[in-house]
């Protein structure tokens, strides 16, 4: 059995079903990210694993111990689950110093005083807070408070670290720094991590494996960050993982034609045994190549509808026979390769990578 085994777990609040017979496994020692839009139930799953909430049905195992089974009236309280939790709002206790915050789990475990001292200072060093251990949380920045929370969650050497959007409240630079620190700590300490977030960038950056959850609380795909990004199993996963362009394609007389026009798409065709007529080609702005001259058998003709100078990048809105798509390229390349377009210019578009979806299935899956 895997380190965490979630088996057919359901949870509803009043009449709202958040999770429905969800099953999930997390390996020992991995950094696992649960990625989904806000309100999809990912935090609920984390709270069920932590023991803050009790499932309505299903079984939950941590390290081969049954911790929740409402059918058998089994529910191990959070304090007996040997976990560490870091919350989005830090939850650093304002009436305790940094030292006392971090020492609390050890005090509860009745560790001897000198050992507490030693282990707390180790953690203080590990999260680079030395010299600040006598301060109160109100004297710390958000990032420092989150480090305290992280140290507190790890000091008792838990088997499992649960992180609920721990860096969502930090500013962009700090976010980037913290996510590497979390990854680094996880590698050093070998703790199993469940990371819950709606930010796909963090999910990709730190995870060994990622699970994508949709709005209904159903897991869509589990895989390595590379698999999720490059081989999305459905439009939801594809559009969730970043800005997406969709080019309408229809099948007419055995040919795939772009938009409402008559240009045949020159790329690898979808598998289409059922003869579906309406298709959508999905791709990311970074997978678009734009050029002034046609590339025989590889590109489509379009018109620049809007050109935006964004400093380091140029941003173009391109229309191809009634469908629009967005693309961008670095300004210095645009200059050196004569790709500075203006609205109304003709251009040719080709793709590095694209995904085929049936238009019918895409409806409702696209995230705004």
């Amino acid at each position: 059995m895997d380190f965490i085994h979630v088996e057919g777990v359901s949870k509803a609040y009043a009449d709202h079903h958040v999770l429905n017979e969800l099953t999930l496994d997390i390996h020992k020692g991995e950094c696992f990210t649960l990625l989904g839009p806000s309100g999809c139930g990912k935090t609920v799953l984390l709270r069920l694993i932590a023991g803050f909430e009790v499932p309505d049905q299903g079984k939950l195992y941590i390290d081969e111990t049954l911790v929740s089974d409402p059918g058998e009236h089994i529910n191990v309280p959070p304090e007996n689950r040997a976990i560490g939790v870091v919350f989005q709002d830090y939850a650093v206790w304002p009436h305790m110093t940094v030292f006392d915050n971090i020492a609390y789990p050890l005090k509860i475990a009745k560790c001897p005083k000198d050992e507490i001292e030693k282990r707390v200072m180790e953690m203080v060093d590990l999260v680079a807070m030395r010299g600040l251990e006598k301060r109160f949380p109100s004297e710390l920045s958000g990032g420092q408070q989150q480090r305290v929370a992280l140290a507190r969650a790890l000091v008792a050497k838990p088997n499992l670290l649960l992180l609920d959007e721990p860096i969502a409240n930090l500013d962009a630079n700090l976010r980037e720094e913290m996510r590497f620190e979390i990854k680094e700590l996880q590698r050093k300490l070998g703790v199993t991590v469940l990371y819950v977030t709606h930010d796909q960038e963090i999910g990709l950056a730190i995870s060994d494996r990622v699970a994508i959850m949709n709005n209904e609380g159903v897991i869509q795909q589990i895989g390595t960050p590379y698999e999720i990004f490059e081989k999305p199993v459905n439009p939801f996963v594809f559009s969730f993982m970043g800005i997406a362009n969709f080019l309408n394609v229809r099948m007419e007389n055995g040919q795939y034609l772009a938009g409402t026009g008559s240009q045949a798409v020159p790329w690898e065709k979808p598998e289409n045994p059922a003869g579906v007529v309406d298709w959508v080609a999905g791709f990311r702005p970074s997978d678009v190549r734009i050029s002034r001259t046609p590339e025989a058998g590889k590109s489509l003709k379009g018109i620049i509808r809007r050109a935006n100078f964004l400093g380091a990048m140029m941003d173009y809105l391109v229309e191809i026979d009634g469908t629009t798509l967005r693309t961008n390229l670095e300004t210095h390349r645009a200059i050196s390769e004569n790709l500075l377009f203006e609205a109304g210019d003709e251009c040719y578009i080709s793709f590095l990578d694209l995904h085929w979806f049936e238009a019918e299935k895409l409806k409702g899956a696209i995230l705004e």
Partner: protein, 566 residues
Amino acid sequence: MNGTVKNGGSSFGVAQIILFISIAILVIVVAFPVLLIFFNAVWVEDHFEFANALKVLWEEEEIFQALINSLIIAGGTTVGSTIVGTFFAWLVTRTDLPYKSFMKSMFLVPFMLPSFIGALAWKMLLSPNAGFINRFFIENFGFDGPIFNIYTYYGISAVEVMYLFPFVFIQVCGALERMDPTLEESARISGAGLFTITRKITIPLVLPSILSGALLIMLYSMAHFGTVAVLGIENGIYNIPTLIYERIHQSGGSFASIRTGTILATVLVISAALIIWAQRKILGSGHYQIIGGKSFRPMELKLRGLRWPLLIFCFLYIGFTIILPTVVIFLVGGLSTYGLPFTPENLSLDNYKFILFEYQVTKDAIFNSVWLGFVAAIITMFAGVMISYVIVKMKVRGKGILEFLGMLPFSVPGSVIALGVILAWSGQFGINLYNTVWIILVAYIARYMAFSLKANSAALEQVHDSLVEAARSCGATMWQSLRDIVIPLVRPGMFAAFFLIFLPALRELTVSIMLYAPTTRTIGVAIYTLNEDGETVISAALAGIALILIVVGQTIINKMTKKAGE
């Protein structure tokens, strides 16, 4: 991992027990006495008599008059306080009045002064024949009669306004300070003049606060005993609480008087419930949300030539309503006999020495008040923490009942509580506390539970759930997380609750006057009864001591809350 724990065993049971205890406290202390009042109001001998209860209200001249009086006095007080409170609030927040922050704290002083002591002072100053001011005008300017008779509706309302207007003042100040100035600035940019902005933007935005403060005063004044008791009885002006007291007191607690009391008390509870409902409705309406929690720097009106005259007006107001009555109380307290002129040879500290060290009645009263206030504050503080904890933090079935019961203390006026505890604790149900100090204690707990619930739930709402969950995930049990996290964080709220109860309890009159026995007088009761018995100078001296106690207590709180804030 310490193995599995059955869900039904630990956390489930604890939550149920705490919920049960909380419900039991509120039922015993508040709900049961109030229910007894309702029951006694409509139950005669062995059957319900709804029509008879209404008949009593309509047909007995004196009772009907008391209802009308309550409405007149409460109405007058509400209108007066709203005008005074709103005007001063606007003056200290939205104009360039000099010494604004000092003036703001001065306008809050009346909060501290017990209005019945104020009423005593005004009686000395403006009673038609003996009042110092009236006599001064008659003797020096040849007036035929008093320039102002305090024993009238106007007099009573005016005195209540002096000591109640801070309710409106504080609410309106808060709203004006928190109001986003861009709302007014955008109106100004659109070309509106200051008068138009005030009328179309500012007033509509703060109206909910004004109304809410006004309703609070209405509620307070309807149920207010002291001022009417001191100033109204001379001319036979009774309101509901004074009539309840008078009837029960006169008849020595006869059945008929208790029944009349319960009917009047029912009217009070219903009006209080209506007022609170209206207040919630007003505060709940969307208007209020435009006012954010942040502090802004509001636009200030330049008073120009009116700046100093208005400041002088404020000083005069404070001098007239706060300083003059206080000085009179202390001076009269120093006289050897009431009626002598205030000359050095007539003034001494003898009365103060007498009441502090010799006179058993006042020594008892001071001891009783301090003891009762302290014990009531401690018990109510802890009960309040527990009940608010269940309401704010716990997820447990049956919480709805507690939420409903928790609203009760807010809508039950003091005289109703007093009557309710008489019904509940006079032996009919096996326990007889009547004529003991314990019945006053029970009534105080019921009366001040609302304060404790308010202060503690406010403190608990600040303690985010994740702080407790963090402790649980660190290995702390529910009790450990309560001890280490919740209690230390709500301690300021608990202190606040303690003083919010202790200080008002020191000067309590409405409840204790209905419940006292010869040896269980409180300070308030002693001041009132001594005054009734014609011991004016002793009564004034005791009032002076009470004022000193209150001011010292208030200063300590201010120091402590300031420290806690740092």
